[in-house]
């Protein structure tokens, strides 16, 4: 059940992000839409790692290795998600800085004022 909720939530987030990406004219908002999309994907990854009633895959006094095997969530998606997040952060940073340069060049923060290259 949990997985399903998370997945659908992730899905909605992605749709929302895409919509923002497609419909906003303001560069920063587009980037925000983009981050939403990313977040959705990350959520999806986490959701796929979930197991019903799972615990964090961390050894502590309470839980032994056997406990982990029987009860911990899948550690791989968590690892992947971490990587994905960092990469998303990097892309966002670059996007923002490019947006700044576009603005500096055309003096407009609106996407449709920034399309000299075409055809």
């Amino acid at each position: 059940m949990m997985t399903q909720i998370l997945t659908v939530l992730a899905f909605l987030l992605m749709a929302l992000g895409v919509w923002g990406l497609m419909s906003r004219r303001h560069l920063i908002r587009i980037i925000i839409g983009f981050s939403l999309l990313d977040t959705g994907v990350h959520l999806l990854l986490v959701a796929f790692g979930y197991r019903s009633g799972g615990t964090a895959p961390i050894l502590s006094d309470g839980i032994g290795v056997s406990g982990l095997v029987s009860g911990a969530v899948d550690p791989i998606p968590s690892a992947l998600v971490l990587t994905a997040i960092v990469i998303g952060l990097a892309v966002t940073a670059l996007m923002l800085s490019f947006a700044v340069r576009m603005y500096a060049r055309t003096r407009s923060i609106y996407i449709d004022k920034n399309k000299e290259l075409k055809w």
Binding site: S23, I30, L44, F48, L80, A84, E116
Partner: protein
């Protein structure tokens, strides 16, 4: 052997430490960077050497655990080879970027450069799905960072679009990965491939893979969802463009290679999906590129198209001679071929510094007078177009063969069409670059000055042309970096070509062609004077020709060898007339002749095709040398390569139907196929080369605008290649096509109409060279007609006409060459009265035109007699009548020719003209002697021709002494000659006897209406000589064909315009297109809505 992981560690470590290295000073740091790259190249090369052949792969697990526990890197021979080339290109690129005039790379740029390289290595080596994603992002982000350092401010806009697009792509990829992991429970590609048929066959699995493959495809920048990539190519620093398409794209392709087995295993929908994607990605950009003004943007379109082709090749198994059975050979070769060539072009764009694509004609002829750069550029373009001897050619051949063998006719069409479009825009760029400085690239027909003022323009600027070449050379020098990197890339390409050539298993004759060209190119580089080169060429070719045919029985191919080599050798003498350096001329001529010879010696379709392409190329470079030949050679290249592509299609279809097709040595009918469409395509391709009516618009201007010696060679020798091919394909044309009409009947009509139309058009030309060009077209029409008869007499006639045409057309063109050289004009009405100044030229022209028009007693009549006898024998009455009519027309334009040049009133400024140089006269008179000989003794020629035709048909004429007797009539050339001499001598003697004192008066001594004209030289009646004929025919003479083809090109333009309007430049539109792409793949996968 070095572990793959070390390569990654090393490049990353160097990237991290680079700031420290730079403490030693920028230049030193870049030097060290180059050294590191060299070391990488050595490593990868070492892998290649040790892995190739042995089936094993080099594997490295990380973290001390084995896959799937940890991430695994692997290098197969293919990977190693790709990595070697990528590294070498990267090396060249770094040289170019750090050693150029402006914007030298340093600091973080070099760092990012290494990160980019690292990313590409990772993409090629990793065997873990998620790791692929990481490396994709590494490459991506380093590219973005590098982009920002371009001069062009628009690059940020482009980069933003790029980020949005690749962001979407990686989202797709991640979703896909997530689903795959969910279904398979592992990220190791090996595991996934193994599990795919079971675990991923479910709808969920397929959907996941759908996301995955869409993500990868988007990263490959597929049309129609690639506007962002194109914009980036346009705005980016050319150096980055080179990196993008040479390094980045190459690595990305490997991701698809890795994933393809998974897809194929999971569901059958994916192969067609990828095929469709590849086809679209190849064809659409080629069309969009047609109208590009920006060279970089054009290259961008070309790059994405080439990648599309590679995607196709990944899925289509190779067939045909080279590479058959070697897995992934075709895509790999295509990929590397493209990488090297494209990088070269980007670097040239950077070095020459201007971004014009040559569309619209406003492009500095910046390669004229810079032979080295020109050669490099030409190699790159030809390699991109997949022409021999470059590696891409063999790959394309195998791909096309594979397409035909697999029955993918639609894809076959797509590939050929796309290739043709590519020829148009890349060829145009090259031609515009190498055209002569005062050529505005509009000349496709004769140019008549507005008024009749005698313009000596040609002569004057002819003298000036040398100087202008020099000025072209003086243009901006190439920076050292570009020189090194271009040299490296060219060496790479050359080496690859040699390797591919030796691996392709084509025979010696083809190799000889290249050796010959290379040898004379070397002579050029050594600055050996033209005359010496010509002498060497004459000696070498005649020795070679003699050794080729001596002892061999007289067959079709030995006969044609004699024709080609003999004709060329004689005409080469004319080169001795002009001293001074004409770079590449002799090399190209030799190459052309040898490739024609190779055509005769070909023993497989592949060899025929290679020889054909080489012949096309050499002749193209000969044509383009002309001073106003730019527009003409665009047409020449386009039509010739169209013909070549048609031939390729024909061969592939025929081979698919019958694997033994064409493997028989060059006897008559080797290329016989029973597949009707193959036959039609073959016929079309030959007809284009023969300038048949409707397909002829390239012919006149190409023959006329080429240099004079080249013109004569082209129209006398080169034009016979098509005839040879007709004979090779003979058996294909007899089969009935539709409603019992056989192809050869169609050919016959086309031939005779061509003969008539060519003559008609020749009738109204003021420009002597255009007259002769059209006359060649008409004569070729006769040969096609005769061949199409498919009878003994018909074929003898065709060959007879071929020989005869070679003789007199060589004569006429050379005579004209001499006259143009002396008078400095090509317009006939500007000449006149030259008979007293240039008597020898007059004689050879006189004999020439008698021989053409077929007036007895000279050899021409033999041809006519044979032709009509053969035609009537076969019951082709109407064709016979038309042929006779058009030979009357021929008589008209020939008389006009000799009259306007030699008779009538001489222009005053021609009073001092002298006879043409001996070197030009000698070949004419050699031909003349031969003509007289075979006129007196027709059997000298006809009997050998009969033996050539014997294998196909039994003789249908018999000989009584000198009389040849057919079922219809008879002709005794010998007796006719004597009678004519008799009836000629009798009146002559009589005249000499009765005439009283004869006053020889000056030419101007004419009177009409009892009055002497004030300026007699102005009374030369030559301009618009047959005006009344024009009047009589009226609209029939309108240039319908020209109109048709300009209509075609206009349509192509419109299509291109519409297609490229799709790339609106708006990031959101691009995002929209990408989502649309995803949706479409979804629909394809589901098989419709």
């Amino acid at each position: 052997m070095v572990s793959p992981v070390v390569l990654i560690a090393a490049s990353l470590g160097f990237a991290f430490l680079y700031p420290l290295v730079e403490r030693l000073g920028e230049r030193a740091a870049t030097r060290i960077a180059l050294l590191v790259l060299a070391a990488f190249a050595g490593t990868t090369a070492g892998w290649t050497v040790s892995l190739i052949g042995s089936g094993v792969a080099l594997t490295a697990d990380t973290a001390g655990f084995v896959a799937p526990l940890s991430i695994q890197l692997q290098v197969t021979a293919v990977d190693a080879l790709a990595m070697t080339v990528v590294t070498l290109l990267a090396l060249a690129a770094l040289v170019q970027l750090t050693e150029r005039a402006t914007d030298r790379w340093h600091g973080k740029q070099v760092v990012l450069f290494f990160v980019l390289l690292l990313g590409s290595y990772g993409l090629i080596m990793t065997r873990d799905l998620f790791n692929v994603f990481v490396f994709m992002e590494i490459s991506g982000i380093s590219v973005f960072g590098l982009l920002s350092t371009s001069r062009d401010g628009r690059v940020f806009e482009a980069g933003f679009k790029y980020m949005v697009a690749s962001g979407l792509a990686s989202v797709f990829f991640l979703i896909g990965t997530a689903f795959v992991y969910r279904s398979v429970g592992s990220l190791s590609i090996a595991d996934i491939t193994a599990a795919a048929p079971v675990a991923l066959a479910s709808p969920v699995g397929v959907m996941g893979l759908l996301f995955l493959v869409t993500g990868i495809l988007i990263e490959l920048k597929p049309a129609p969802a690639n506007g962002w990539a194109i914009d980036t190519y346009q705005a980016a620093d050319p150096g980055i463009g080179a990196l993008l398409s040479a390094v980045n794209a190459t690595a990305m392709v490997f991701v698809l290679v890795r994933v393809m087995p998974i897809l194929a295993g999971a569901s059958p929908v994916f192969v067609p999906l990828v095929l469709i994607a590849g086809a679209g990605a190849f064809l659409i950009p080629q069309a969009q590129a047609l109208l590009q003004e920006s060279f970089k943007r054009m290259l961008g379109y070309s790059s994405v198209a080439q990648i599309g082709l590679v995607v196709l090749a990944i899925v289509i198994p190779a067939a045909g001679v080279p590479f058959a059975g070697v897995a992934l050979a075709v895509p790999l070769v295509l990929l590397l071929n493209h990488a090297v060539a494209k990088a070269t072009l980007f670097w040239i764009a950077d070095a020459t510094g201007d971004d014009a694509s040559g569309f619209g004609g406003s492009l500095p002829a910046s390669l004229r007078g810079r032979p080295a750069l020109l050669v490099v550029a030409a190699i790159a373009v030809l390699a991109l177009l997949g022409l021999p001897p470059f590696p891409g050619f063999w790959a394309k051949w195998s791909l096309v063969m594979g397409l035909a063998a697999g029955g993918h006719i639609g894809l076959l069409v797509v590939v050929l069409l796309g290739s043709l479009l590519e020829v148009v825009y890349l060829g145009r760029w090259l031609i515009m670059r190498m055209r002569h400085v005062d050529d505005d690239a509009t000349v496709v027909s004769q140019r008549i000055p507005a008024d009749f003022a005698e313009s000596r323009a040609d002569a004057v600027s002819g003298a000036a042309s040398g100087a202008s070449d020099a000025s072209g050379a003086a243009a901006g020098a190439i920076p050292v970096g570009a020189t090194v990197s271009l040299g490296l890339a060219t060496l790479l390409m050359a080496g690859a070509s040699v390797a591919a050539l030796l691996g392709s298993g084509v025979g010696m004759p083809v190799l000889i062609v290249l050796i010959g060209v290379a040898a004379f190119a070397v002579l050029d580089v050594l600055r050996i004077p033209l005359r010496l080169q010509a002498i060497v060429a004459i000696a070498g070719l005649s020795w070679w020709g003699v050794s080729a045919v001596s002892g061999a029985a007289l067959t079709l191919q030995s006969g044609f060898v004699l024709l080609f080599v003999g004709g060329a050798v004689v005409q080469l003498v004319a080169l001795l007339a002009r001293p001074g350096r004409r770079a590449g001329l002799v090399a190209l001529i030799v190459g052309m002749v040898l490739s024609l010879a190779a055509l005769t010696a070909a023993t497989s379709p592949l060899e025929v095709f290679v020889a054909w392409e080489l012949m096309t190329l050499t002749s193209f470079f000969l044509v383009v040398r002309g001073r106003f030949a730019a527009a003409a050679s665009v047409r020449y290249l386009t039509f010739s390569l169209a013909s070549a592509l048609l031939m390729l299609a024909a061969f592939s279809l025929a081979t698919a139907a019958n694997p033994a097709f064409g493997t028989g040595g060059g006897v008559i009918g080797t290329l016989t196929t029973s597949v009707p469409w193959a036959a039609v395509l073959l016929a079309l391709s030959v007809l284009i080369k023969l300038g048949a009516i409707g397909l002829h618009i390239w012919l006149p201007s190409s023959y006329a605008e080429a240099e004079d010696e080249v013109s004569s060679l082209a129209s006398s020798v080169l034009s016979k290649a098509g005839i040879l091919l007709l004979f090779l394909g003979a058996g294909s044309f007899a089969a009935p096509l539709f409603a019992g009409v056989a192809l050869n009947q169609v050919l016959g009509w086309i031939g005779v109409i061509t003969a008539l139309a060519g003559g008609m058009m020749a009738l109204f030309q003021e420009d002597i060279k255009y007259t002769l060009a059209y006359s060649s077209m008409s004569q070729l029409g006769y040969m096609v007609l005769a061949f199409a008869l498919m009878s003994h007499l018909g074929w003898v006639t065709a060959l007879y006409l071929a020989v005869n045409h070679l003789l007199f057309k060589g004569m006429l063109f050379l005579a004209v060459a001499g006259i143009v050289m002396r008078t400095g004009t090509r317009l006939m009405y500007q000449m006149g009265g030259l008979i007293k100044r240039m008597p020898f030229s007059f004689v050879s022209v006189l004999v020439g035109i008698i021989a053409v028009s077929g007036v007895p007693p000279l050899a021409g009549f033999g041809g006519k007699w044979l032709l009509y006898t053969a035609l009537i024998e076969q019951g082709w009455y109407l064709q016979a009548a038309l042929a006779l009519f058009s030979s009357g027309i021929a008589f008209l334009y020939l008389f006009r020719l000799i009259h306007s040049m030699f008779l009538g009133q001489r222009k005053t400024h021609h009073d001092t003209v002298t006879e043409a140089p001996a070197a030009v006269l000698i070949p004419q008179f050699v031909f003349l002697v031969i003509i007289i000989a075979i006129s007196m003794f027709p059997n000298l020629l006809i009997k050998p021709l009969q033996t050539i035709v014997e294998p196909a048909f039994a003789s249908s004429v018999r000989w009584e002494g000198y009389t040849v007797i057919s079922s219809l009539g008879y002709w005794n050339g010998n007796a006719v000659m004597y009678v004519v001499i008799g009836v000629f001598l009798a009146p002559l003697l009589w005249l000499l006897a009765v005439k009283g004192r004869t006053y020889r008066v000056e030419q101007f001594n004419i009177v009409f209406a009892a009055e002497r004209p004030h300026t007699p030289q102005s009374t030369h009646y030559a301009y618009n000589f047959y005006g009344h004929y024009q009047k009589a025919f009226g609209r029939l003479l309108d240039p319908w064909v020209e109109r048709f083809w300009s209509g075609v090109s206009a349509t192509a333009g419109t299509v291109s315009q519409t297609l490229r309007a799709w790339n609106t430049g708006n990031p959101q539109t691009y995002a929209l297109q990408i989502l649309l792409y995803l949706f479409l793949t979804y629909l394809v996968a589901r098989g419709g809505l």
